[in-house]
Symmetry: C2
Subunit: 396 residues, 2 copies
């Protein structure tokens, strides 16, 4: 198909497109139940959407005791690309208009190689997905990068862990290469949108989404919308002080949360523990691989290694301490923990919970669920698809 060019002409059409995106095919009657328009007006707007080609007829539905309804749905050929650039790997996925993942690729990679090398990689992966026949082209792409972004322009700003990206016109460059509209955001915000769209955060308006991977970040959702802050750095909690006069951090300060707990810090601590002979299990893994990662620690913990469990608990307590403060401050309705370290699972979660429930205001924790994200590595790419579809489905 030729790529999507039309845009909803008004708020009604925008609303209808989002209903079809989030709920799949609907009959006009079903749409009418959810949209507070007269049937006649609704029919007019649906007809206009059919004219644009964004929406197509989808056959007859089963009868519910009367005339059978004619379903409509978003064009089945629409394709969105979700790109989640992490510190050490990229995820690229194609979705249909309902944001269901049709194909998903993951590849190790180092962001520090710079935007040109990374995007070469991304374009190649996108090409592979096309080659499988899942897509002929893309109607839009949502891209996450591991650092702050000037959102309106889609440009990373002063990203600490990705030198060489500062000011690179990601949005423009990718839009050119892919030949479709592109939106760029922080990877943590993408995860927050993903969990909100298809994960644990579906019913919640105000929530926090803490992503613990190589670094630590926090997606902030206020009234259903992501809060990005004045310079796009909102949620950057990795450099909040967790330990007064604690460990030196790459940022120049001491005691930053990230310096004490994150994928990188955990791996480093595990190596040290292994060298000190505190854990035979970790030492064996170190021997075998030459290095350790958070995954090794998770495996050791799962096998019952006390040192690994202690490391995870200590880390969870540190994170919990910071989250406790944020919970008192922000009073969310839900806290989601996600990112690479979700493999650490319930040991980590329990430590975080204990600390938050102990230290936050009782009123703020009274009914506060703290849970693991349920989408894993797909959260980011779904969030990307969601980001661009929100943009494309916004009223003109």
């Amino acid at each position: 198909m030729r790529r999507m060019t039309a845009r909803p002409a008004n708020a009604h059409q925008s609303r209808l497109l989002k209903l079809l995106r989030d709920g799949g095919p609907h009959s006009r009657a079903q749409l009418g139940d959810r949209v507070d328009l007269s049937r006649s007006k609704l029919a007019v707007e649906v007809d206009r959407l059919l004219e644009t080609g964004l929406v197509v007829a989808d056959g007859l539905a089963a009868s519910r005791g009367g005339r059978r309804s004619h379903n409509v749905r978003l064009h089945p050929g629409l394709r969105f690309l979700g790109v989640d650039i992490g510190a050490t790997s990229v995820d690229v996925a194609v979705t249909n208009a309902e944001l269901e993942i049709l194909g998903h690729l993951n590849q190790p990679m180092d962001v520090r190689e710079g935007p040109v090398a990374v995007f070469e990689q991304v374009l190649e992966m996108a090409g592979k997905l096309k080659a499988t026949g899942l897509a002929e082209g893309f109607d839009g792409a949502g891209v996450g990068v591991p650092g702050p972004v000037r959102f309106p322009e889609g440009v990373p700003v002063a990203p600490p862990i990705m030198p060489g990206w500062d000011g690179f016109p990601v949005r423009e460059a990718l839009s050119q290469e892919l030949g479709c509209p592109v939106m760029v955001d922080n990877d943590v915000n993408l995860m927050a949108m993903g969990e909100q769209h298809a994960g644990v955060a579906r019913p919640v308006a105000d929530y926090l989404c803490v992503k613990i991977g190589t670094g630590i970040g926090c997606g902030i959702v206020v009234g259903g919308r992501v809060h990005r802050g004045t310079t796009g750095s909102a949620g950057d909690i990795g450099h909040i002080q967790a330990v007064p006069d604690g460990r030196p951090c790459a940022c120049g300060n001491r005691g930053c949360l990230e310096a004490h707990f994150s994928g990188a810090a955990l791996a480093r601590d595990a190596v040290e523990a292994a060298r000190q002979g505190l854990s035979a299990d970790l030492a064996a893994r170190l021997e075998a691989n030459g290095t350790l990662t958070a995954v090794d620690v998770a495996a050791a913990a799962a096998a019952g290694d006390a040192t690994a469990l202690d490391l995870i608990r200590a880390g969870g307590t540190q994170v919990g301490q910071v989250i406790a403060g944020l919970v008192s401050f922000f009073n969310p309705g839900l806290v989601v923990i996600g990112g690479g370290v979700t493999g650490l699972g319930h040991t980590l979660l329990a430590a975080i919970r204990t600390q938050v429930y102990r230290q936050s205001l009782p009123l703020a924790t009274r009914n506060l669920p703290i849970v693991l994200g349920e989408l894993g590595p797909t959260a980011g790419v779904i969030g990307g698809a969601r980001l661009i579809s929100d943009h494309l489905f916004a009223p003109a």
Copy 2:
């Protein structure tokens, strides 16, 4: 006049009322410049507002080189009541429809006496204001209380420093007594709204408003709107841990910010310093009054007393530490410091600034002003008037 009963019938009218509130009298042409409506439609809506009585003609304006314009303004008889209940005193003020303060009373009082005693006081003060002829009655009242509030119902919930208020139907009770609509909110949120309406925060969409009085709280403004959180306790930063294993706090935890710095903590520390003979100045003041308050410390500091200055600096550093974390997290465009301790002035502010600029993410502090509130004790009452007028001027 009989009290305001009409409400704007649509979003246009609501918009117009707010323009007249915030900008004083306007001609139709001036309104047209700001509202994106055709002149004819605008005239229709203005005429309707004139019919309701909310808006009245206000004579001819000077010519600007052509026909003179007929101004319209909000009814000059409209009166809002702003009530700011603090831990140790109440502020009550009357404003006109433009939220200008016409009369303002302040009275020492102890919230712990409970809602009945406090409202007796408030009603008496409102009566006094009426007796001066400033108002014949009130069209609405906005009330701030020093604790979390279930906002839609206007009911305090689990307020730590005000036992006896939990669940008291403040909104309903006051509405009954005053015979007008009432809205209730946290006092810190009121201050944030006040500074946003008439103070330093006018141009900013996302900002934090830290109020340091008997306790410590923080108003959170996201996209121009106050964020209250899921249970109404957002911004309650007094019990964030500032010092690991620090001083015991009334809440049962240790090291809470409030336990280390607040009006109450500062007074306590000053007494102790005086008793230990660290400061002749403070000792003399203690001798004279039998007790010390933050005001005494401010006076001693102004007189150059080193101990007082140290206390303030130490406190500012503690608050700054917590604010630094919040700034990294929230990435505001402005931080306002207000409340009873603003008398401590630039010594406090300097300590806070130093700490925040040192410890927050550079990107988040790059262009971050940290300033004292400019409205002082009127911020709360103006915020109250603003709260209720926003409510009354909302589309039906």
